[in-house]
Each structure stands twice: as structure tokens, then as C-alpha cells.
């Protein structure tokens, strides 16, 4: 039963993360075109970071760093009587009431908290990917159109919202569809974050002997993983079909736009 539930966990993660990542990406892409250097450079660094560092480093780093950051702030705020560093030797020590979530909280709170940390990590990484795609899409909107906008006396803000924003989506769509598939294919990494996802259950249920039970069947892990492969193949197949239709829908009546896009690769 838990095995089937874990499929829902994966799908929930994807559905929650995708809009969040879009938001992050949109903000980053917009900021990277800003005239203000203080906004432009952090956004550019954020967008560029996923090119240089493997995404799984972020998946491992962000939840742990966030968790410690939150606990550290609560530690400083709630137990000001305790002095001394929180890193003592090889331990990270905060007082009891600063624990996140509280050790007295029920199990589902712990699970939910872990899940939210994972969502944040995914949103940050895929926000950077989305920022890449959207920044490229914004650059692909013909410059003459933006200039025409300002020639009509539009402010920068108006040019952004009325000319750039509506037009960039058609350029962004191929990249975004790729990103969606990429996000789906990154979900098994949830396992590394200690969330009991499908990989976890496939290992647990498949093996002949686990810490908790001894199953009456021999080692079936290979079959469980085969099932996972088929599941992912199916999900990516469905997504491809959907995006194909979306692409056709959007490009209807925009023959010129599509052609220039294909020529540009």
C-alpha cells in the first residue's frame, strides 16, 4: 500500500514544484534583465550556477542547510540564555524548543517538514533551470518590437508586461517541456533526501530480507525497478504527447514566429 502511496508523493512533488520553480525562474529571468546591477548580478549567478555544479549537490545541500538555518535562527531567538557555538565538535546542537519540528510533534509533521524541504530544494534548482530557459526566451523576442514599444512612449514596465511577457512563452515552450521531463526524471533523487519514495519502497519490498520483515519471496528488486522504469517511461510519454499538442495549439496562426524559432534552433 505504501508503495502505491509513494507514487502519489512523487506526483505531488512534481505538481507542487513546477509552479514554484516557474515563479523562481520568472523572477530570476526578469531580474537578470534589470537595469539595477544589485538585482542583475545575483540573478545571473543564480541562473548560471546549475551549469557548473551537479544538481544532486544542491539536493543534498539545500535541505540540510535550510534545516540548520531555521534551527539556528530559532535557537538564537528562543533560547538566548545558552551561549556557545551550535557546532560543537562533530555535532550540531540546539536547545530542545528550537528543534524543527519539535521532537514531540507527531510523525506526519516530520514527514511533511521533510517533504517541504525537498520541495524547496527542487524549486531552487529547477527555478535556476527555468530562469535559463526564460532568459533565453526573453532574448529571443525580436528586439525591434521592444523598441517599437518604447517608441510609442511605453515605459519600461509597460514594454515588459505588454510586449515582452506575452510573447516570450512561445519561445520558452520547447525548453519548458524539456524541463518538465527533466523534473520528472529527477524525482527518484528524493530517495537521497530520506523521503520514503518509490525507490525506497522498491528496495524495501523487493528485497528478500529487510530490517523489518523477512518476505517469503526471493530477491525481487530487479522486477520492482523494472516496474519503475516502465512507470517513468509512461509518464514521459504522456508528457511528450501533451506538450506536442500544446506546442501545436500555441503556434497556430503564428507561422512566422515558429519558422524563425526553428531556424534559430
Amino acid at each position: 500500500m505504501a508503495f502505491y502511496q509513494s507514487f502519489l508523493v512523487v506526483l505531488t512533488l512534481v505538481l507542487v514544484t513546477a509552479p514554484l520553480a516557474m515563479l523562481f525562474g520568472l523572477m530570476a529571468a526578469s531580474a537578470s534583465r534589470s537595469a539595477i546591477a544589485v538585482m542583475r548580478w545575483p540573478a545571473k549567478i543564480y541562473i548560471a550556477m546549475v551549469r557548473g555544479v551537479p544538481d544532486i549537490v544542491f539536493f543534498l545541500f539545500v535541505p540540510l542547510a535550510l534545516d540548520q538555518g531555521i534551527e539556528y535562527i530559532r535557537h538564537r531567538a528562543l533560547c538566548s540564555d545558552q551561549t556557545g557555538s551550535v557546532w560543537q565538535g562533530n555535532d550540531f546542537i540546539v536547545c530542545d524548543i528550537a528543534k524543527m519540528p519539535l521532537s514531540s510533534a507527531s510523525a506526519w509533521v516530520h514527514d511533511f517538514y521533510g517533504f517541504m524541504l525537498a520541495v524547496t530544494a527542487y524549486a531552487i534548482v529547477f527555478g535556476a533551470f527555468a530562469g535559463n530557459v526564460l532568459a533565453g526566451a526573453m532574448a529571443a523576442v525580436p528586439h525591434a518590437q521592444l523598441e517599437t514599444g518604447s517608441a510609442y512612449g511605453m515605459s519600461r514596465r509597460q514594454v515588459y508586461w505588454r510586449v515582452l511577457f506575452p510573447q516570450m512563452w512561445i519561445y520558452a515552450l520547447p525548453g519548458l517541456s524539456n524541463l518538465w521531463v527533466l523534473l520528472i526524471k529527477a524525482t527518484p533523487l528524493l530517495f537521497l533526501l530520506g523521503i520514503q519514495d518509490i525507490v525506497y519502497w522498491a528496495r524495501e519490498l523487493g528485497s528478500a530480507k529487510t530490517s523489518a520483515y523477512t518476505y517469503p519471496h526471493p530477491d525481487w528488486r530487479v522486477w520492482y525497478f523494472l516496474a519503475l522504469l516502465i512507470f517513468y517511461l509512461f509518464v514521459t510519454w504522456v508528457s511528450e504527447r501533451v506538450f506536442d499538442r500544446l506546442n501545436r495549439r500555441f503556434s497556430r496562426g503564428q507561422a512566422v514566429l515558429m519558422n524563425s524559432q526553428q531556424a534559430g534552433g
Binding site: R51, G52, V53, P54, D55, I56, V57, L60, F61, L64, A65, Q68, W87, G89, N90, D91, F92, F129, N132, V133, G136, P174, G175, N178, L179, L182, I184, K185, A186, T187, P188, L189, F191, L192, V199, A202, R203, G206, D219, R221, V222, F225, L226, L228, L229, Y232, L233, T236, W237, G265
Partner: protein, 280 residues
Amino acid sequence: MSSCLNAFQDYGLRAIGYGERLLPKADITICEQFALIGSGLIWNIFFGILAIMIGYWFALALAVGKMSGSGWLRGFSVGFIYLFRGTPLFIQFFFAYELFVLLPKVGITLDLWVVTIDLESRWLTRAWLGALLVLILNTSAYSAEIFYGALRSTPRGEVEAAMAYGMSGWQRFWRVVWPNMMRLAWPSYTNEAIFLFHATTLVFFSGFPAWRQSGDALYYANYFADKTFNPFIAYPIIAFYFIIFTLMIIGLFGWINWRLNRHLPQHAKQRLSIRLNLIR
């Protein structure tokens, strides 16, 4: 400073089994972290280079196969590419490992006149061969898709010109189609190489066990983060290493790109840019 040198002597080659046997447990210094994570990088480079070099030829064959008129050859190529691109690499590692474990333990002795090699099937369950195999197949599928796209946009006129010169099919491919295809595919292929290099960090987190605690860079970074409970040192170190190597890949591939486009007039040259349209 001398203790730092010591750390590099002890742990610099730890990932391939030389040096100190035990990993540092208490009082971990920054030098030790740098040394050990750096030594883990040997594995990432090993996987990355071999997978790219072997996968390249396989990808070429697959791309040509997908283009070919023969039904079963095209079917195989399309199916192979679809299977490996449609599923997560992480699950592929797990599946391959479990599959390799189930294989019967046999040994084959290859007699190659000069040397004899004992091939054993249990090597497949080790990361250096099993994971390498998965990485090769995986990158072949992604690269084949890139090459296939380039193959389709090879200028028809040039092939016809080659035919007019009386070149044979083989000559036509290697002298006209292949260089053109490489030129067109190179920017995307650079991307693929970078992301493959990043994907090598997954190896020791999937089923493949790190034998005698000799793992890759991320394996050690994770080890340190677990031990010191402080992610703010180990992970930035590995990020630093990876950024440097990514820049090196971009430099190398950029140079090749320049060589491939040398003959073209300035305005027609394709600039190497990291586009995210065709990433893994």
C-alpha cells in the same frame, strides 16, 4: 602547512585505494576535506572521460542507425534512444545493479596473444565496470539524439557534390557528412558532456557500493557532511571542484568547436553557447 601536505599525501589518492586506509573521523580539517573530495574526483573524471569516449562511437552508430532505411536497425535505434532518454538515470543504475547481481558468476579468459585477461561477470557489480556501462549506454542515447538532429540538417547539396565526385558511400560519410554533422552537433554535444560529467556523481548513491570506502567526490562530501553535521564546508568544496572542471570542459570543447568551424566565414560561425534546449 605541513599538516596540510600530510593530508594530501594521506588522502590524495584514497579514492583509488592508496594512502591512509581509515577515513578521518574526528577533528576533520579543511585540508583533509579538500584532499579527500579531490581524490574522489578521480572517479568522476574516469567515468566522464571513458563514457564520453566510448559512448561517442556508439552514439554515432545509433544516429546513423536511426537514419537508415533498414526497418529493424531503425527500430532498434529508436527504441534504445527512447528507453534511455525516457527513464531516470538513477533508476537505470539501480536496475542495472540488481540485474548484474543476478547474473551467474562466470569467468571468461580472453587470450589476446600478448596478454591474457580474465573477465569475470562479478566485475559488473562493481562500480568501475557496471556503472561505466550504464553511463556509456545512457550518454550514447542522448548523444545519438543530438547527432541524429545534426545528421538531418546536413546540407543536401554537399552530399550530392560528393556523389558527383564519385566518392563511395564510406568516403562520403567520413569526409563530408561526418565533419558537417559534428560541426552542427557540437554546441549541444558540449552540453551533454557537461551534464554527463555531473551525472557521474550519482554512481555511488545508487545501488553500486563503494568498495572499501573508495567513492567519488560527492560520496566523500556527503561523508563529511554526515560526520561533521556541517554542510557549509564540504558541499562548497565539491561545488568549487566541479565549477573548475566544467570550465575546463567548456574550454576544451570550445577549442574543438573553433577547429570545426575554422573554414567558415566569420558571420556563419556558430558560437558555443550553453543552451538548455536539448539537455538530458
